[in-house]
């Protein structure tokens, strides 16, 4: 029996890839929406495993921190709080099947085009991307292109996110007049003069 020397990476690749596809299928096939979101999270984690195998460890960790640690938590919250009858929603699923198939087919052919370009023209990846240096870690490599070559796009993306954040805050900010809130600077700024008042109280009269 001859086994290739790089068996382990291959084993892990098929493990991660297989799990990823299976989880993605379970996301749409799951009966319980919370289970669907949990499968989605598992799919993200497997995808980040694939990134690690490709040597893109920075992207892998960012995928987990951002998507799994923050975005999917919000998904999970929303799905847990909503009381939607998903069996009722599922009834019209055959109606949407043709649209789904069309989207799927277009997506498939686009993927074929991307991968095909790679195979047909081996120079393509070098033409569209900066070559990955081997002497520095890929975090540094990413930083070097992100903050030099693509700095304006990076800043623009940051601005878009800032606007989105401010928009979300403005949409949800409400000043309710009857709600009592603790204002710590007011509390700290209180002095004896503003907090206390000395009155002469006559016996039997009160204030």
């Amino acid at each position: 029996m001859i086994l290739p020397a790089t068996l382990l990476p291959a084993v892990f690749f098929y493990l991660f890839a297989g799990m990823c596809v299976a989880c993605a299928f379970m996301v749409i096939a799951g009966k319980n929406p919370v289970h669907s979101v949990l499968y989605l999270i598992l799919a993200f984690v497997n995808a980040s495993g694939l990134f690690v195998l490709m040597g893109a460890e920075f992207l892998a960790m960012i995928l987990i921190v951002v998507y799994v640690g923050a975005v999917a938590v919000l998904f999970l919250f929303v799905v847990m709080m909503l009381d939607v009858d998903f069996t009722e929603l599922r009834q019209g699923v055959l109606q949407y099947l043709p649209i789904g198939i069309v989207v799927g087919v277009i997506f498939f052919f686009e993927l074929v085009a991307v991968v095909g370009a790679w195979v047909i023209a081996p120079g393509m990846p070098q033409a569209i991307s900066s070559p990955t240096p081997t002497t520095i870690t890929n975090t540094e490599a990413l930083g070097r292109v992100l903050y030099t070559q693509y700095v304006y796009y990076f800043q623009a993306a940051g601005l878009v996110l800032l606007v989105a954040m401010i928009g979300a805050i403005v949409l949800t900010l409400r000043h309710k007049p009857n709600v009592k809130r603790q204002n710590i600077s007011d509390q700290v700024a209180r002095t004896k003069e503003t907090a206390m008042e000395v009155r002469q109280v006559r016996p039997g009269q009160g204030i």
């Binding site: 919370v34 960790m61 987990i64 799994v68 923050a70 975090t139 603790q182």
Partner: protein, 351 residues
């Protein structure tokens, strides 16, 4: 076949053996960390603490383990059984997984990842799932309320921990945990010409505000008192694990304490110079680095335990205010200040 043996199988066996050894050492240490926590708490309140099982109560944690394991696990009939049992496993596995990258001495770690800090950060951001899953699967409103508030708390404090990590990274110039420790060989002490005072080299001094922010955020992130609103027995019966008993409950508790130990180790690596000796002269440099690491981590844990014993519990709106209105602006400003000082002071690490 020989190639397969040397390239694949042997490294795999070595890693599995190392991991098992780490797990055994870690779990035994956690048993005593738990005991130390109870003993410190008791000492502050002028009690004796656990003192019956074994000499000075040293076997108390193992007695607790046996008690948990031999109890009957009760699964509520209305619960979502799969998720209900998965939640404690997720908590426990993730907490233990973080220790794969923690260097306790030069070269003493299972994997020296290039992105070690991010790995630990990612794991601690995943810890929230154990809590949400447990809260939801229990099918109880108390458990769910507790899970919701705890998840919001953990997500909030992750933000400031992220910024703290960024300031340390700016100073060290690497995401690798061992490189961060090595970078603390040079600093204030070497600058003022007293290289033997190596404890001044560590980042706790130049980044003191961030050390404080890290310590408080770590308390909140691990749901320790004074931020243990998850458990808040005065308002929510016993938090998200109210429906859990026996071994599943034990796994939650184990995961919680391992996460605390991870945070102590993180504090040691980022701010207290990891395995480096505090004074770089002869008798101190002879001591193995792992002993310094453990001593520093225990010091961090002592701070955690004292906070539990001394500080009363926060109210939820105060907790959110502290995270978003105090720590976030401070840490954001510190990132800018540290970056500016490093850049214009010519101190930035060459990379």
């Amino acid at each position: 076949m020989l190639e397969f043996w040397t390239a694949d199988l042997w490294p795999l066996i070595v890693i599995v053996a190392q991991s098992l050894m780490l797990l055994v050492i870690l779990l035994v240490s956690i048993a005593y960390v738990l005991l130390a926590d109870r003993k410190i708490w008791a000492a502050v309140q002028l009690r004796r603490g656990p003192n019956v099982v074994g000499p000075w109560g040293l076997l108390q944690s193992f007695a607790d383990l046996l008690k948990f394991v031999f109890k009957e696990p009760v699964i509520p009939s209305g619960s979502n059984k799969g998720v209900f049992l998965l939640a404690p496993l997720v908590t426990c596995t993730l907490a233990l997984g973080a220790w794969a990258v923690i260097p306790v001495n030069a070269g003493w770690m299972i994997a020296d990842l290039n992105v070690g800090v991010l790995y630990i950060f990612a794991i601690s951001s995943l810890m929230v799932y154990g809590i949400i899953m447990a809260g939801w699967a229990s099918n109880s409103k108390y458990a769910f309320l507790s899970a919701v508030r705890s998840a919001a708390q953990m997500v909030s404090y992750e933000v400031s921990i992220g910024f703290v990590i960024i300031t340390v990274l700016l100073c060290a110039g690497s995401l690798k945990l061992s490189a961060i420790v090595e970078a603390q060989n040079h600093g204030l002490a070497t600058m003022i010409g007293l290289p033997w005072l190596s404890f001044l080299n560590w980042y706790w001094l130049p980044l003191l505000p961030m050390f404080v922010v890290f310590y408080v955020s770590a308390l909140a992130e691990t749901n320790r008192p004074p931020f243990d609103l998850v458990e808040a027995e005065s308002e929510l019966v016993a938090g998200f694990m109210v429906e859990y008993g026996s071994s599943p409950y034990m796994m939650f508790m184990l995961g919680e304490y391992v996460a605390i130990a991870t945070m102590c180790a993180m504090g040691t690596i980022l701010f207290l110079g990891g395995w480096l000796p505090p004074i770089a002269v002869a008798p101190f440099t002879w001591v193995p680095g792992v002993i310094w690491f453990v001593l520093k981590a225990l010091f961090m844990f002592f701070l955690f335990a004292m906070a539990k014993a001394v500080v009363p519990r926060y109210r939820y709106d105060q907790l959110m205010r502290l995270g978003w209105k105090v720590f976030l602006p401070i840490s954001l400003a510190m990132v800018v200040i540290v970056a500016a000082v490093l850049q214009f002071g010519g101190l930035a690490p060459k990379g």
